[in-house]
Symmetry: D2
Subunit: 362 residues, 4 copies
């Protein structure tokens, strides 16, 4: 209710600040009996981790997760799972000169106006560092969905700045630091290298998908599956747009070609997926297809005009260790958010509709 | 929780089906003491009403709203406001031939699979008719926000099918059936006329905005203002994309130009609005700028391949009375959804942050 | 969230005032496919209905319920079920002389202070008349629980004023206007007759139970089954106490005799039920045993000292048509509230724990 | 939603098990700007702490709380406050012999049946140890309510087993280990000593109150203040009954004496407090008066018959370190729960009704 819990039946409550003692989350509602240990969560955190290439922030955080509760003898007990990640590499002195100044495009001003005070160290609560607990919670839900329904999730970068990235193969995604689905990422490296040298930043476009989706997830008319996907992903730092299926391209489509035809063989399959796996706010069983737009990082070395807390004009340069494109590390986070939305709706579906018979052949 | 309530502190619970006896909603949480009568709500319903031009469904519904509760001697009492709209022009026989068949691009299949049965008359619960109670609730919140904070809302169509619509003036919007901000809508009429003759449909792109926004609305890290806007608007029938501020165009932007600079005069104002009035998920006080993509109507006269409930292949034509472009009537609905999100966050802000002092000059 | 919705997965949103045009509720989350018509709901409303004996208010309300949505061809569709009851026998002039005065023990003062205004006609929103929609919603849940799990509910009066009522047989309960489980109610009639003649009122104690309970319902540590039962029943008008199992008598018990022993034959049964069917906030499978205390009706003919809206002292007599003991008609309402709590927890259990295997023999 | 969060606007999410690595909670929604440190919380935890007298469990836990987030430079930031308490004195071997057996009156059986597995060490999640985070969260809310509205809270024991405890003075309460409001507790010591020698346990009755209450808190018709108090307190381990005001004694009262008269001087005061500070579910401004019944501890040395996980009969003695009367340490916990309910409703009131003018003199 107060904004730091995602989901109701699989409720993830997030806490912490970038440079406080620790960050973490509490997962309430995980079904009991699933095998779970830190080893199930750590790999997803490692995918998101800073400091892994020269194109991301050089902050060194192990992001070591500790399970504090909710697991007994290696199995979930159905009670809250608290996950703790200690912050270790805080260099708060980096932020002294922006403590009373507002970076353009950043949350500095709005946090200060809303709460009357803010933790300026590393962006405090508004830091992208707070996506780590989300990713950790996503790892738990991802395991349950895979084991229970065979549902899987993946994502990739499809554009960085002005550079469109074609799709070659999912296999490439985890072989480069950009989560790009291509074998040769030298063009991206060159683009990012030039940007870094200029002290500037750029945006990115990502694609996230789910495969082997159960049919029937989503609660119209307001808590539709697509609505909740949009909520989760627009809520990710720096995201300015969300599309399902053909998204904004649908505007210029005709009804005679856009609507996805159903086929008799196999029964209930579709001839196309313009709608991205959701009809009327409910999953069709097709792959979920989601795209997001991420704006350029606000923390840059190029000087910008702004004001301070007294209202006086200032010129700002953001030193410190920042990602020149926050989109680079956003793929595992976007996947985790999609996972959490599907998890929530899977549990809701079980509550209300698990008894509905599946017709023959469908 | 079960999907038909929007908001928590200003909670709108929607009920009804397209061809049932009535549709409506219950608003829980409206502050007491505001003057309110049906006359405050009816004009917004009239803007959304079907049958008003040849380019929208010819169904004739008065959409006459009745306040059943929550108002005493012309003032809100702080208790639930129930709004009832009787359906009057149902022609359910129109739908007999699609009762067991699934229209491509429509919610027929997913409702049937989720619930095991569905009301096929006019799309039942999945009909855009159910946006009427949302619009009615929006009218109540809109009045409160205008009187309390001076906040206002407006929207317009910016593209229909392949036809981009330039912006001339807000004054034009309510002078034509398309909510287009231009004086001469003959090009739109011609485009829609050809489409209607072909029995086909098209999509649309809309813009919705809020002016005179309070600063500080939004509850990071998950229930950010932009996240909840995306939830509400992606949840509107046929919407496939939502953008805040520069949206997908941000991907190709540089940080050095994208971030909106703050100015000292007047204190706390911004030099641009690429971020669309939201930073870090919290309102900046600038205008909210939102765009949505609406896909083409699924109910068309062009024959489409599909299957029926037994899994057998069928060819489908959707007779009945439908909008060739659902985007045409969507502007007042999209406005209402934006209103409801702002209302919810205004109340949340009052609960937690109303005491925060506003610094001098800001 | 704003207080007029009970439950989350089976969410009942209540609206209306005693003398407004209508009262009702919207049920969101009812599982699809259950046969349902007004005939399933009306009998429960008739049990609660005013005007049925000389010991209850003489207001004549048919309490005829209309299903506005959520049912198609006689079956629930899984979408919101709106229930409407028109008020017909309002005599608002009866309330003119208390419009600016506060009845001792009544909600007049607190509604006025909280909301700044109030509907004085028949108590407005604070009237026990608003329990009718709760009873109607309870009838829907009761049917589902009976058909799905065989769970049944019943209640009776166990004390009225100073008069304790022994337990003879459940069969008697629906044979007298007091819901007393005894054959001869003449003592109660005499007691109530004397009270009515004196223009006074008295309290009552009720017992409500559930049989054939599923094991495992309840969500510790906060949303325990017993906690939610206490919430629902303490929320009923005029209730001042709630007990589960032995209740306040437990204080003087010893651990060596209080704890209910488990038996091997049949496996998992209990030798006693001091705990009233709940252990650690979770249902044991034994009967739920709940007791409530209802205070005397505030609206009486005996003159009382009070003040008016200007703060001036007044002497008050409450004319109008009132129950001399609100406890008399409360049994079906208390049953409905217990039903709704069990329904909510049954759905929650399905979401999280429906897969948990039941061990052999248990 | 999944049961481990109390409150919505001031939402406390609890995690941990009795013998896991840590317990704690996340508070979401605390207003910003309040001075807060561990020193504000620790004293309340110390009041609840085990091992402080021979009449409570001898487990030695420092219950040292660490604030992990939500506080910057000694002030709350409006973001989630995570509180961590490491467990230090676990002796899990004590519980080996009850790992597969069900203690009568304990949550062993229901947890096992609900979740299919359970952590038997010290009762796992069902342990009263999990009230420590509740107490810690209560300390935060208590400070805010005292500073903002001057509201204060206190409680005491009024009966232990068969021994009624008269009321002498609030000053005595923190001078003895029983929270008894009397100077000479030797009778209680003798009673408890005999009980401990017999290896048995007993129940207790507690009173909790709030002073200087704001008028207008509570959200009828379901989320009434009294309903939420009943929810919170019935949800406390071992509680079997909750009363507001005169509670069950109201049953035998007459309306002519029960209803609390309003007085003109001072304006809006009451001549009595039979209703315990709540009318129509809304606070009157009078003291809140709440009583709870706590059943005898289930973990005793007297042998009891029960069964094990295979369904076979067993005889059980509970060794380990247990409170012979869990009611002894429950006073600060019950206070904390009352605090949290008032806090939640204070924030809700601010959201909806903070603008309502207070009439002259009231």
């Amino acid at each position: 209710m107060s904004g730091n819990t995602l989901g109701n039946l699989f409720a993830v409550t997030n806490f912490g600040e970038s440079h406080g003692p620790a960050i973490g989350c509490v997962i309430d509602g995980c079904p009991p009996g699933m095998a779970l240990s830190e080893a199930d969560i750590q790999p997803e955190l490692d995918r998101r981790r800073p400091g892994t290439s020269k194109f991301v922030t050089q902050r060194q955080e192990a992001d070591q997760v500790e399970i504090l509760s909710g697991v007994y003898q290696g199995r979930t007990t159905g009670t809250p799972i608290a996950l703790l990640i200690r912050n270790t590499d805080q260099r708060s002195k980096d932020y002294g000169d922006i403590a009373q100044r507002f970076r353009p495009g950043h949350a500095d001003y709005t946090y200060w106006r809303k709460y009357g005070l803010r933790d300026p160290r590393g962006g405090g609560r508004s830091s992208a560092r707070l996506t780590a607990p989300t990713v950790a919670a996503g790892a738990v839900a991802r395991k349950w969905l895979r084991e229970k329904y065979g549902t899987t999730f993946r994502g990739c970068m499809t554009q960085v700045g002005e550079l469109a990235i074609g799709f070659e193969n999912w296999q490439h995604v985890d072989q480069n630091p950009f989560f790009a689905p291509i074998a040769d990422v030298s063009a991206i490296e060159n683009y990012m290298g030039a940007l870094r040298k200029a002290g500037d930043s750029c945006g990115a476009r990502l694609r996230v998908t789910a495969q082997h989706m159960p049919v029937g997830l989503g609660e119209p008319i307001y808590d539709r599956l697509d609505a909740d996907i949009a909520h989760a992903l627009m809520g990710l730092n720096a995201v300015k747009g969300v599309e399902i299926g053909d998204g904004f391209a649908s505007v210029a489509h005709k009804g005679s070609t856009h609507g996805d035809s159903l086929r008799a063989d196999p029964c209930g399959s579709f001839a196309s997926n313009h709608d991205g796996g959701v009809l009327g706010g409910i999953s069709t069983g097709q792959d979920l297809e989601v795209a997001i737009a991420i704006k350029p990082t606000s923390s840059i070395l190029v000087p910008r005009a702004s004001i301070d807390e007294t209202g006086a004009p200032v010129e700002l340069i953001t030193k410190g260790r920042h990602d020149p494109c926050v989109g680079i590390r956003a793929t595992p986070i976007a996947e985790a958010l999609l996972v959490l939305v599907v998890m929530e709706h899977a549990l809701r579906w079980r509550a209300q509709c698990a008894d509905v018979p599946v017709p023959n052949g469908f």
